[in-house]
């Protein structure tokens, strides 16, 4: 009997010790406290996942993701990482959102279409450094599937195996896509950047810049690359 009135839950969860999957299971079994800990762990990650890709409020999609996550709990298979499960849902929700928002009725193909084709401005991204700007802009100019793969790789530091679960692709494909994504990004940035010097510093230090952009999205002070 699920209880409609939220009651004080005396939880014994230790924030530091419980694994994601343990927390998730407890949450699904009605333990709000566990959900709150999990929320604390993943809100920022999900917010960051959405913010560079949509023009509306990322909070709504984060919420949708977390709710879908609980609803689809049965799909979290034994042994699979909670994080990949979460990102897979986030990725689906992103695709649905883009479909709904930008091309009513028409199919969009995330492998082909970039965010630049879809929206004219992402929500709230303003970067001060031209290099960061170039990179963020570059990311939005390549097909969404490639943008996602690069961000998962550089920002979330996910392993190929995890990405393959999230994107539902074989590992080999993930690797080749990652390669292709870097190529596309560099092409996009070359198109966008008129100063060769700027392009060179950005491209040759992509890892550093990626990291600084991630922190930028988190609202942190960007380090000097």
């Amino acid at each position: 009997m699920s209880n409609p009135i939220p009651v004080e839950v005396c939880s014994t969860i230790n924030d530091m010790e419980a694994s994601d999957s343990e927390l998730f299971e407890q949450w699904c079994n009605g333990d709000a406290k566990a959900g709150q800990v999990l929320f604390g762990r993943y809100y920022d990650v999900l917010d960051r996942f959405f913010i560079n890709k949509i023009s509306s409020d990322p909070g709504d999609l984060v919420q949708e993701t977390l709710i879908a996550c609980v609803k689809g709990r049965d799909r979290l298979q034994q042994g699979r990482q909670f994080r990949s499960y979460l990102f897979a849902i986030a990725y689906n929700i992103l695709n649905d959102h883009l479909r709904k928002t930008y091309r009513r009725g028409e199919q969009i193909d995330v492998d082909q279409i970039s965010l630049r084709d879809l929206s004219d401005s992402p929500s709230t991204l303003v970067s001060r450094r031209r290099e960061q700007r170039l990179l963020l802009e570059g990311l939005r100019n390549i097909p969404i599937a490639y943008q996602v793969i690069l961000e998962l790789h550089y920002w979330e530091k996910l392993a190929v195996r995890e990405m393959s679960e999230i994107l539902d692709l074989p590992s080999g494909t993930v690797k080749s896509r990652l390669r292709r994504a870097r190529e596309l990004l560099s092409e996009a940035m070359t198109r966008l950047a008129q100063s060769p010097e700027l392009l060179r510093t950005t491209l040759t230090r992509l890892d550093d810049w990626a990291e600084s952009c991630r922190r930028l999205l988190d609202g942190e002070e960007p380090g000097q690359p």
């Binding site: 929320f39 604390g40 809100y43 709710i67 303003v126 970067s127 609202g219």
Partner: protein, 1025 residues
């Protein structure tokens, strides 16, 4: 909280230079808190800057971020700009900005955005300012269509903004970046200048902190973000585009960020320009000190552009721009321009490259413009004066549409003219702060729903007004007469909205509790688009009474609002006044409305005699409304009569007749959902109260289906319907179906008014009754304990609702055999009822019923009889003699009197009970069993056996487990009766007694006494066999 959150706040308080990302961690924190609250139903800690509590991130720009915030001291909504600092070394510039903002805070002028406060927040300057709803002048200008907006209107706006500049100049403040994007046009059309001095402070910050970098950072205003847009649309222009905007003369560049990027990256200009080049005075372009005359120049560029739709000076680079200004190379006006020459001459003087040759002050320039405006030949201004002053509404209503030529744009404005805009940022902030003030746990959730519903209602109303106007004046498909009817309808509807928004500003916990119901009950706008009904409805009042009629309708709107918000007493006299006033007018339609309003008040909130008065008034209203062909009102009256019926006399034919009439009058209007759903609901309740549950369920299912076909129906209403249906299904013993509806109702209430609202406690209460019906007494008790806890907290320990919960808890404890505890609870319930209800109120009878049952279980039949006698006395005063409740109570009296051996009394009560309840076979079986026991007590053994045998057959028809106590009593009585007849205990008697013992034992402690009595009888009478 988890470690991640700590990380965030470390980042915020760690003294690092502030976030360079607009929409950075602060706005993420706000989003996070919002999502957290909607998932878990509890809030995270509020994000504050100084005394300001951040509400939402509105937008971002090159200058930083803008947030909507709530000012605790001043109790209103404000906008906060968190200015992007340089990279931490710009303390001096920040200080200057701060000083300037503080000076500006001293300045109050109707055409300047008010600054309330400025300070620093983690090394960044923040400026708290007035929150303005509207649009920017830039967008306002974009929204017009060529040639059609009047030059007069443009001038009016600019002169207003200019007066704001002038006031700032008088306080020794210079704007330095005046342009249309920095002027806000409020919903009422008032222009306000924003962002004084920000330009310089920002640019200096850059200069000082980052001179080594090739800084392309020009300054972009935040005004766009400030113009209170809804959060969803608040996406600010990214800095990329504003940067481009400052440099490029191509107006389409700003929508092409890729090109913008290109422009930004390509920029080669050295040095720092403070402001937006295309509006900038030459002295600023050279990097010299700007003064008030520089603002004058920028003002003239902007006005020139607005009037001639071209910039006075052109150039692709700053250098070209400078040259163009120096040569005073101003393009000739387009041929046929309607702008008077005097205006042009005045502008050209303001555009002199040499500041000395411009006007000495803004004031002089503005005076000259005003004079030119007055002198300008009227004909020259006329091109599109149709829209006149009401053009002010354009920004609020339409974004960049081509509808600014529409003669209907000012229509809403005109309708709101006599009471002012009811839904402004000030009003909204005031309501919000009233909600905050009452400190109810559900105030925040309620506010969100109320806010969005009011907003949606306001938008629908505006749309409908414009639509109504257009049908006549643009599309020419509607006669002016019909337009008049639609507008009167919309105007009347608006009164309800006005009354509600005014009342909600007052901090009042009753109002907050009922606020969502209040918004749901706003006049249905669909009625004003129901052309057929309006066309054949009552004609508008004659000119000579029109104002009086409007005044009465305003009063009626207040009556309805106040009553809904729980203020019956003060409302009653107001309603009576309206009735008297309406009675004096020959316009009968409004008299019917006044009678209806008063009748509604009385039947909902009145005492017994007032309810009767209300019903009479409604019947009178009905006669008039039908006579006046007030077809929209008629169904409402029938529905109210049905309400009165189910509240007061559900079992009568009148109620059923009225509900049929209600449906017929709605069919006459071709079944509009606005009436039909309500009628189905009330009719469902009527049948429910009358005990016809299957019919009630059918109607309630229909109502829900009708509701589901209304996409914009409120979840709140749906919750109420689900709750109704669940109650009916519970009575029909369809427990799983009922359970599912209760859950959905809880979910929907939770989403609209928050999990802490008393409505949820009501549902939980009924859900507990469902557990009782399932025999899950422990679950029921747990739930009622929670309900009790919540109700005490929300409503206070002495609230009548707490009394009801106590009494139901007592009933559960009784059934579980905890008779002492049951007695305590019931006594506490009774005490509350004694305080809350008058001596002859049915509620008090209910408490005595519970106490009677407990006393009976305790074996204290005398006490039980005393309680039941009290119940009977009260109910006789409240209900007709043949009411079903009288039947029940008489049956109870008969049973306890039998136990006391008072057979005559028992018999008399039983006669009454039988005459009322005799039609129901189950009840009849029970009554026969009591009758049989009486006969047995009277020594009429043969009759007793006969009666009890019949009763036993009756019990055979009903499920084995139901009415166990009564069944056991029957078996036991029959066993004794047969034994008495036969003179010995035969096999049948012993079997019956054995069955009775079994049941009594299963019943637990409450039947222990009975069980042992039968057992000892069995031992003495049946062992010998």
């Amino acid at each position: 909280m988890s470690d991640n959150d700590n990380r965030d706040s470390d980042n915020l308080s760690g003294g690092k230079a502030a976030s360079p990302v607009a929409g950075g961690s602060l706005s993420r924190q706000l989003r996070k808190a919002r999502v957290y609250e909607s998932i878990f139903g509890v809030g995270l800690q509020a994000v504050t800057i100084g005394r300001f509590t951040l509400l939402e991130h509105i937008g971002s720009g090159g200058m930083g971020e803008v947030y909507a915030a709530y000012d605790e001291h001043l109790d209103r909504k404000v906008a906060i700009k968190l200015v992007r600092s340089g990279l931490g070394t710009s303390a001096r510039a920040d200080e200057r900005l701060l000083r300037e903002a503080q000076t500006l805070a001293q300045l109050s002028h109707p055409n300047v955005i008010q600054i309330y406060d400025a300070g620093t927040y983690q090394d960044r300057v923040f400026i708290a300012m007035e929150f303005v709803r509207g649009t920017t002048l830039e967008k306002w200008l974009d929204a017009r269509e060529s040639g059609q907006v009047t030059a007069r209107e443009i001038l009016r706006l600019f002169i207003g903004a200019g007066r704001g500049l002038e006031a700032a100049h008088n306080a020794d403040l210079v704007h330095r970046d005046f342009k249309p994007a920095n002027v806000l046009v409020e919903q009422d059309g008032r222009p306000r200048v924003a962002d004084f001095g920000l330009a310089r402070a920002m640019a200096s910050a850059e200069q000082e902190s980052d001179s080594a970098r090739d800084s392309s950072e020009l300054l972009s205003p935040l005004s766009n973000d400030l113009a209170g847009q809804s959060p969803g649309r608040a996406a600010a222009e990214p800095e990329l585009s504003t940067t481009a905007d400052t440099l490029s003369m191509e107006s389409d560049l700003s929508s092409a960020p890729a090109q913008a990027l290109k422009a930004a990256v390509n920029l080669t200009t050295r040095g720092h320009i403070l402001g937006t080049p295309r509006y900038m005075a030459p002295e600023q372009l050279y990097g010299h000190i700007a003064d008030s005359r520089s603002d004058q120049f920028s003002f003239c560029v902007a006005l020139y552009e607005a009037l001639y739709r071209t910039l006075p000076f052109v150039g692709d680079t700053v250098e070209q721009l400078r040259q163009s200004i120096e040569q005073s190379h101003i393009a000739e006006p387009p041929r046929g321009s309607a702008i008077p020459n005097t205006v042009r001459k005045t502008l050209l003087r303001g555009l002199e490259p040499d500041p000395e040759r411009r006007f000495a002050t803004m004031g002089q320039l503005l005076d000259a413009l005003e004079q030119a405006m007055r002198r300008g030949h009227r004909a020259l201004w006329t091109l599109a004066l149709v829209a006149g002053v009401s053009l002010a509404a354009v920004g609020a209503l339409y974004d960049r549409s081509d509808e600014s030529t529409d003669p209907c744009i000012g229509a809403t404005w005109a309708l709101d003219a006599d009471h002012g805009q009811p839904w402004t940022s000030e009003r909204r902030a005031a309501i919000r702060s009233a909600f905050d003030h009452v400190r109810l746990p559900y105030a925040a959730a309620t506010w969100r729903t109320v806010d969005s519903q009011l907003d949606q209602y306001d938008r629908t109303w505006q749309r409908d007004v414009v639509q109504a106007c257009r049908d006549t004046r643009v599309h020419h498909v509607q006669s002016p007469g019909l337009l008049d009817r639609r507008m009167i309808c919309l105007r009347t509807a608006r009164q309800g909205f006005v009354a509600l928004t005014i009342e909600l500003q007052k901090p009042d916990s009753r109002a907050v509790e009922r606020a969502v119901a209040g918004t749901v009950d706003l006049p249905k706008l669909a009625a004003c688009s129901d052309i057929e009904t309006l066309r054949y409805g009552p004609a508008p009042p004659d000119e000579e009474f029109a104002e009086q009629v409007a005044t009465i309708r305003r009063g009626l709107a207040r009556v309805r609002t106040l009553a809904l918000l729980g203020r019956f007493d003060e409302t009653l006299s107001l309603a009576r006044e309206q009735r008297v006033a309406a009675g004096k007018l020959p316009y009968r339609a409004v008299y019917a409305e006044a009678l209806t309003a008063l009748g509604r008040l009385l039947i909902y909130y009145g005492n017994r005699s007032q309810v009767q008065e209300g019903e009479d008034l409604l019947l009178e209203a009905r006669d008039i409304a039908i006579g006046e062909r007030h077809d929209e009102l008629v169904p409402e009256i029938w529905n109210l009569l049905v309400v009165s019926a189910w509240r007061n006399h559900p079992a009568t034919d009148r109620g059923r007749e009225w509900s049929r009439q209600a449906l017929a009058s709605i069919r006459r209007l071709r079944d509009p959902p606005r009436h039909r759903i309500e009628a189905l609901r009330q009719q469902g309740l009527l049948y429910y109260k009358d005990g016809r549950f299957a019919l009630a369920a059918q109607l309630q299912h229909q109502a829900l289906a009708a509701l589901d076909s209304q996409p914009d129906a409120s979840s709140f209403i749906r919750a109420a319907h689900l709750h109704d249906l669940a109650n009916t299904l519970l009575r029909l013993n369809q427990l799983d179906e009922a359970h599912e509806r209760y859950q959905r109702a809880l979910d929907l209430y939770s989403a609209t008014v928050g999990p802490d609202h008393p409505y949820l406690a009501d549902v939980c209460f009924d859900l507990a009754m469902l557990y009782v019906a399932r025999g899950q007494l422990d679950e029921a008790r747990d739930m009622l304990d929670q309900v009790l806890h919540r109700q005490r907290r929300q409503l206070g320990p002495e609230h009548s609702v707490v009394g009801r919960t106590l009494l139901e808890l007592a009933e559960i404890e009784r059934r579980q055999g905890h008779l002492d505890r049951a007695h305590q609870l019931a006594m506490r319930g009774l005490q509350i009822y004694q305080r809350e209800y008058s001596k002859d109120h049915s509620k008090r009878a209910f408490a005595h019923t519970r106490l009677g049952a407990i006393a009976y279980d305790r074996g204290d039949h005398a006490q039980a009889l005393a309680e039941y006698e009290k119940v009977l006395a009260i109910e006789r005063a409240n209900k007709p003699g043949d009411h079903i409740d009288i039947g029940y109570i008489q049956a109870n009296i008969a049973e306890v009197a039998t136990g006391l051996g008072r057979h005559d009394k028992a018999s008399a009560s039983l006669d009454v009970a039988q005459s009322i309840l005799g039609k129901d076979p189950v009840l009849m079986a029970f009554l026969r069993s009591v009758r049989g026991r009486i006969m047995l007590g009277q020594g009429r053994v043969a009759d007793a056996v006969n009666e009890l045998e019949t009763a036993e057959k009756g019990f055979g028809q009903i499920p084995e487990g139901s009415m166990p106590g009564n069944r056991a009593n029957l078996y036991w009585a029959l066993a004794r009766a047969i034994t008495a007849r036969d003179g010995r205990a035969g096999r049948r008697a012993c079997d019956l007694a054995t069955k009775a013992v079994g049941i009594f034992e299963r019943q637990g402690p409450s039947a222990r006494g009975a069980a042992s009595a039968v057992q000892s009888w069995l031992r003495s009478s049946c062992n010998s066999n």
